[in-house]
Symmetry: C2
Amino acid sequence: MRIAELSRRAEVPVPTVKFYLREGLLPEGVRTSATQAQYADEHVARLRLIRALIGPGGLSLAAVRQVVAAIEQPPATTHDLLGAALAAVTTTEPVADHQRVHELLRAWGWPPGPGHCSRHEDLAAALAALDDAGFELPEEVLAAHVEHATAIARAEVDAIPTDSATAAVRYVVLGTVLLEPVLLALRRVAHQELSARRPGQGGP
Amino acid sequence: MRIAELSRRAEVPVPTVKFYLREGLLPEGVRTSATQAQYADEHVARLRLIRALIGPGGLSLAAVRQVVAAIEQPPATTHDLLGAALAAVTTTEPVADHQRVHELLRAWGWPPGPGHCSRHEDLAAALAALDDAGFELPEEVLAAHVEHATAIARAEVDAIPTDSATAAVRYVVLGTVLLEPVLLALRRVAHQELSARRPGQGGP
């Protein structure tokens, strides 16, 4: 198909398609003349992926580039895959205090080893923000987050496809990014439903 | 204290403090002359809260204004509180298809009533993004998200303070916003730890 049909099928304006081509997010089509090229179904799929990552996924162009690269060039192991996915979506600046995170990890049964601190930046920053805001997190609430985040991650890791490396990368990278808004939206719907059913919700 | 000390104690530059004053996010101090005012500890706390909401919380100034308003003027019920918190942090544009969300809610045991659709926008958008990206979500993974998001929300709603409306608002609004990065970071740490321990992680 030509670029006009690609644009129509992917629901992305032609100038935007050209921008993604220039940025290397979308592979070149097969040139048929100096000004024309032919595109395939994989280009439609890639455009939909880019739009989902930028829109609901909330990724920057640079992060989309990393995700696309991870999908095209699968690293060797599941663990490396997750590392690539995390690197693509982690933007937190280093913070000073990992003490609290390390205590939490020990209590969680995952004592921190040497050289693993980069993975804990987001968690350290998120916990520090609670303190900065003067928010006192009840212990049982943190414990519920730890327990159930682990259960969710276990279901996700167990479902990593084993039939091909490409399918595994695709699942891990997209699942890491695109299931975050799903999880947060489910939690908020549950808040609404549970608080509507809470005894005494008629008012304090 | 004067504005210079307020700035120092809250670790926010004086021009930024003045900006928040002009924007109405920070209450005025007590005027002591045409050009000077005195500030109290509550101003330090408010500044830390604003910084946490804008930084790790990822809120816009408009959303911070809504959160601050919700904290200052508590609505009547727990359910209203959650509504105010959600309104402050929900930015999704309406999407057409709520069919899938309503099916999910029915399976979840929470059949959608009339007029409740605005709460489902985020979830509908998040699920639509999976389809747009061509991501096939395994059923057991969605089931795990639903089950454990509910368990987390239950622990959070159960821990809403009952001693004062102000404490309840503060907990609900800040907890809704500031625990999101905590939950996502915990999930990612769990991914890393679980995949490192996965049988056969030496490579596909």
